[in-house]
Every structure is written in structure tokens, then in C-alpha cells.
């Protein structure tokens, strides 16, 4: 799990062009949107792409994405659950 979390942080920084953010400093339990990283609606769509490209998970709507992208840990949990299903 911690490996997946570290990998996700790296992928998020790359996909969203967060040039000055060190992936290690992202708190996996903190909200991804609203505070901190300053992500917006386009970033949410880019995270949907990230999930499809790297984990073959399709997310239909931005609303559905909102729950999954609440934090890095929530994303990792979702990926783990998807693999098991």
C-alpha cells in the first residue's frame, strides 16, 4: 500500500505539472482539492486520465471522481479495491 501511495504521488506531480512540489511532501491523508495543492476542475479531469492510463480504471463523471480523489489514500484504496474485484 505505501508503495502504491508513493507511486501515486509521483504520478500526480507529473500528470498535473506540479513542478515545484516534492512528491514526498504530499500528505496522503490531506484533501487533494480545495487546499494545499491548489487543484482545479481541469486537474480533476486529468486525474481521471491518470487512473485510466496507469490503472485501466474508467471513471465516467467528474462527480464520481470527486469522491475517489478526496485524498491520495482514497485513490490508493479505490485502486486496491478495483484490483480485488
Amino acid at each position: 500500500m505505501s508503495e502504491l501511495i508513493a507511486k501515486l504521488k509521483q504520478q500526480i506531480v507529473e500528470q498535473l505539472n506540479l513542478a515545484d512540489v516534492d512528491p514526498a511532501t504530499i500528505d496522503e491523508n490531506a484533501p487533494l482539492f480545495g487546499e494545499g495543492l491548489g487543484l482545479d476542475s481541469i486537474d480533476a479531469l486529468e486525474l481521471i486520465l491518470l487512473m485510466q492510463k496507469n490503472y485501466n480504471i474508467k471513471i465516467a463523471t467528474a462527480e464520481e471522481g470527486q469522491k475517489i480523489f478526496s485524498s491520495v489514500r482514497a485513490m490508493a484504496d479505490f485502486i486496491e479495491a478495483y484490483k480485488k474485484a
Binding site: 498535473l16 505539472n17 506540479l18 515545484d20 481541469i42 479531469l45 486529468e46 492510463k53
Partner: protein, 213 residues
């Protein structure tokens, strides 16, 4: 007719960043356009993480406007809805259009990026500048075969005459396949009889030509 003058102007090309005719920064010739833009950004010492999400043309326009600020402000005291932004170029957003078009070739894994697509409009650079400086006034993006000083001076003069603006940022912003070229001038009215840097076709053309050197 209102008398208009250029308060200050900036230009960026592949070699340098210039403010009011004086070199502010020399860009390394073996750097890529992206590296040059990042270097010019770092030199400003401001923190604007969204800069790295922009395409080259938006970065270029954003930087050109940033170099015109004083204490972080592009304008002070004028209501934000009375500041206009009029931009122009030849290539529209072709640099990013080509990049986006490439991402459409792969039908096996068809995943076009919204973060790339959004920059496939000429005026997105204008949006980025407006967001940064809170410009809420008239917007226009004119595409021409070459730098058209006459149209820009005519159009901006009309905006002033119609009282559609009190100040205006106007110029040319184009980034294409690694070549950078921008000239932005901040225009305001003046009552000073001896004012220099008047906003005329000849003078604006001269600024553009200077930026080529």
C-alpha cells in the same frame, strides 16, 4: 481625441527579456524554449505554481505582463473593469494545436488531455494574464499575417474614445516550435504636452522591430 502614451513596455524573444528598451535578462542560446521561460520565471522570484501548467505561449504572455509590474501590480487605482487587454499574433494557438493533434493519433489508447486542449484557443493567454492581474475589462484577440501596429493602435484608440477602457495592455504574443516573441505595452491617457513614448503606429512598430534584434 484622447492623447495616449505608453507607460511602459516589455519584450521577450529567444535571446533576452527587455523592459523599456533595456535588457533585463539574457537567455541562454542552447536552452530550450521551456528552459528559457522557466529561467525568466525564476528570475522574477515570485511564486505562481500555475505557471507550470501553462503552455509556452501563455507562459510567454504571462511573463511579459509580469515584467511590467511594480510591486507585483500591473495597475493601481483603476477599476479592474476599466482595464482592457488586446492581444494579437499570427499563429493563434498552433503550437499547442499541433501537440494536441498528435495526442489524437493513437486510437488504441484514446486519451486526449483537457489540460492540453484548453490551450488550443488563441485567447487563453489573455485569460491567464487577466487572472493574474485581475483585469476584467474589454478583451479581444486579433489574428494577422504580421504585426499590425495600425490595427492595434486604431482599435485601442477606439476603446479609449468610447470610454470602454481607461487603461489597456496591448501587444503581440507568439510561441511556436521553440521560437518566442512577445511585445506588450501598457497604454494610458496623458495630458502632458511634452509626453514622450506616445502610442502611435510608428512607435509601436518600432518597438516590435526592436524586439527582433
Amino acid at each position: 481625441m484622447k492623447k495616449l502614451k505608453i507607460r511602459n513596455w516589455s519584450s521577450i524573444n529567444d535571446h533576452e527579456v527587455v523592459l523599456n528598451g533595456e535588457r533585463k535578462l539574457t537567455l541562454k542560446s542552447d536552452d530550450t524554449a521551456d528552459q528559457k521561460l522557466e529561467f525568466a520565471y525564476r528570475a522574477l522570484g515570485v511564486a505562481y505554481p500555475k505557471f507550470f501548467k501553462m503552455d509556452a505561449q501563455s507562459k510567454l504572455g504571462w511573463l511579459s505582463a509580469e515584467y511590467l509590474t511594480k510591486d507585483g501590480k500591473l495597475f493601481d487605482g483603476t477599476p479592474s473593469q476599466d482595464v482592457a487587454l488586446v492581444l494579437s499574433n499570427r499563429k493563434s494557438s498552433l503550437d499547442t494545436d499541433e501537440q494536441y493533434q498528435l495526442s489524437l493519433q493513437n486510437e488504441e489508447e484514446f486519451l486526449p488531455s483537457p489540460a492540453v486542449f484548453v490551450y488550443t484557443l488563441a485567447n487563453i493567454v489573455a485569460g491567464e494574464i487577466c487572472i493574474r492581474h485581475g483585469i476584467k475589462g474589454e478583451n479581444n484577440f486579433l489574428i494577422s499575417e504580421g504585426f499590425d501596429a495600425s490595427s492595434l493602435v486604431n482599435y485601442v484608440s477606439i476603446l479609449f474614445e468610447e470610454e470602454l477602457c481607461q487603461q489597456c495592455l496591448v501587444g503581440w504574443v507568439e510561441a511556436y516550435r521553440g521560437t518566442l516573441r512577445s511585445v506588450l505595452a501598457f497604454i494610458e491617457t496623458t495630458t502632458d504636452e511634452k509626453a514622450t513614448m506616445l502610442f502611435t503606429e510608428e512607435y509601436l512598430k518600432q518597438l516590435y522591430q526592436t524586439s527582433e534584434l
